[in-house]
């Protein structure tokens, strides 16, 4: 079961500058949404606010109709998985990275599940034993995705997942996101790449000067 993720009129002010100026979005269950805009338009700030990693000065984030303020951050972020532009790999093997999410919730990750996850992001099982920090940019993105999926989230929220990758690797990530959406996950992707935003399918929002508008 996935829930609707919504942002209502988010405002973020930093040093007298309105980085977000009433940005709103609606992500129905199982839908894909791309947010496209030039750098400096506020889209990364929006993604972080939507992930509750940054407190907006005004406005609200809602999950399943419930204000995020009324959901424990640990719970919200388990249901809405956020991936930074260049996801940090934790020390140790890829497997240890995959175990991180369940571990913080006092659970363990079975070997079978770890294999499933790594295959779901298009990687082969031997990579589980490799040192995560030595992977390529594209591999790190995939491992970060698998790591997020280990928490069985309802929504995937990605900030510029293709920005640090070469065009081929970027396209493969977008294809992977489409696949994950087809399996029932909601996907929100922030990108400055118009082609990737369109390739994701679903609703396309444009971000300009801290506001979002549906691209018609």
């Amino acid at each position: 079961m996935t829930s609707t993720l919504e942002a209502r009129e988010l405002v973020v002010v930093r040093e007298d500058r309105r980085i977000l100026d009433g940005a709103s979005i609606l992500v129905p269950p199982g839908e894909a949404v791309a947010i496209q805009g030039p750098s400096g338009s506020g889209k990364s700030t929006f993604a972080r606010a939507l992930a509750t990693l940054l407190e907006p000065d005004a406005g609200a984030v809602l999950l399943g109709g419930l204000d995020a303020q009324r959901i424990a951050p640990t719970q919200f972020r388990t249901r809405v998985a956020f991936l930074a532009q260049q996801p940090a790999m934790f020390e140790g093997s890829v497997l240890r990275n995959l175990e991180a999410g369940p571990q913080v919730h006092g659970k363990s990750l079975s070997d079978v599940r770890a294999s499933e996850l790594i295959r779901a992001v298009g990687l082969d099982e031997p990579i589980l034993q490799r040192e995560a920090r030595t992977l390529s940019g594209g591999e790190k993105q995939r491992v970060a995705l698998a790591r997020a999926l280990a928490n069985e989230p309802e929504v995937l929220l990605l900030d510029e997942p293709t920005a640090a990758l070469d065009p081929d690797a970027g396209e493969r990530i977008v294809a992977l996101l489409r696949e994950l959406r087809a399996r029932g996950l909601s996907v929100v992707m922030v990108t400055h790449e118009e082609s990737h935003a369109r390739a994701l399918g679903g609703t396309l929002y444009r971000c300009e000067r801290g506001r979002l508008a549906i691209d018609s």
């Binding site: 992930a51 509750t52 990693l53 940054l54 407190e55 303020q69 951050p73 640990t74 719970q75 972020r77 388990t78 998985a81 956020f82 991936l83 930074a84 260049q86 996801p87 940090a88 934790f90 020390e91 991180a100 999410g101 913080v104 919730h105 970060a144 790591r147 997020a148 928490n151």
Partner: protein, 262 residues
């Protein structure tokens, strides 16, 4: 008790040791001459002053004076620990927290010892209370300064790791666990090294002083053992309390990482 008196001319003679360091600094162009002169004079002035303060205190022992002196020592320790934390919040924010951490560590180490191991008569007996508390305050000060310096710097340099954990649903405590562990290990290491090398490398100042001034060595050693264990407790408690404060400064109530601005 008999001990070799240090006359004033002899004391001045010891200044030659500073001259050696100054000469080496000059030769090596280290530029430390001014610091060495200032440090030597300031250190001597502070010790002479506290010598007179202690003399006064011993002659007119009154709880208010003892408590006042300890409060001043705590204040100076707090101000020193909160100073120059490069990647941390401003001094004004850290000062009260440094005081609380140093105070908590010192209380935990000092109160049980004076209650059960070295009973004081009266409870404010300055001869014991002031020097031993001073050693505890000084160790706590160093630990708290190290904790503040290191935890804010590592939260900044490893912010992406901390946020990645928060994004996986970790609590602030879980997200900062690695940095906290490294910080506390680094902050406690000097105290633990002190435990391991005491008697082998260094004879502690207080024990040396006691022996030199005529206390039987086996009693001086017992005092030193108690003090060593107190120093460990002080370091652990002050370090943990300081980490707790730092954690609260680094995260909002909604588990968001907020790095202090420089």
């Amino acid at each position: 008790m008999s001990y070799a008196h240090i006359t004033l001319p002899r004391l001045l003679l010891s200044l030659a040791l500073i001259a050696v360091a100054i000469a080496l600094s000059r030769r090596g162009r280290l530029g430390l001459e001014r610091d060495l002169v200032w440090g030597a004079l300031r250190g001597a002035a502070q010790l002479i002053a506290i010598g007179y303060v202690l003399l006064l205190l011993f002659n007119h022992e009154h709880p208010a004076w003892v408590v006042l002196l300890l409060a001043v020592m705590l204040g100076v320790a707090g101000a020193t620990a909160a100073r120059r934390v490069e990647h941390g919040p401003p001094r004004t924010v850290l000062f009260s927290r440094a005081i609380a951490a140093i105070g908590a560590g010192t209380l935990v180490a000092v109160v049980p010892v004076f209650a059960a191991v070295v009973p004081l008569h009266p409870w404010y007996e300055a001869r014991y209370l002031v020097p031993i508390s001073g050693m505890m305050l000084s160790n706590a000060m160093n630990v708290v300064a190290l904790v503040f310096e290191r935890i804010f710097a590592s939260a900044r340099s490893e912010a992406d790791q901390v946020e990645a954990l928060l994004a996986l649903g970790a609590t602030p405590r879980q997200a900062l666990e690695r940095q906290v562990r490294a910080t506390l290990r680094a902050a406690l290491l000097p105290t633990i090294n002190g435990l391991l090398t005491v008697g082998l490398v260094a004879l502690p100042g207080m024990m040396t002083g006691q022996i030199v001034s005529g206390t039987p060595p086996e009693q001086a050693v017992r005092y030193q053992i108690v003090i060593l264990y107190q120093l460990v407790a002080v370091a652990a408690v002050a370090g943990m309390v300081a980490v707790g404060f730092a954690r609260r400064l680094l995260f909002t109530g909604r588990a968001q990482l907020v790095l202090p601005r420089n």
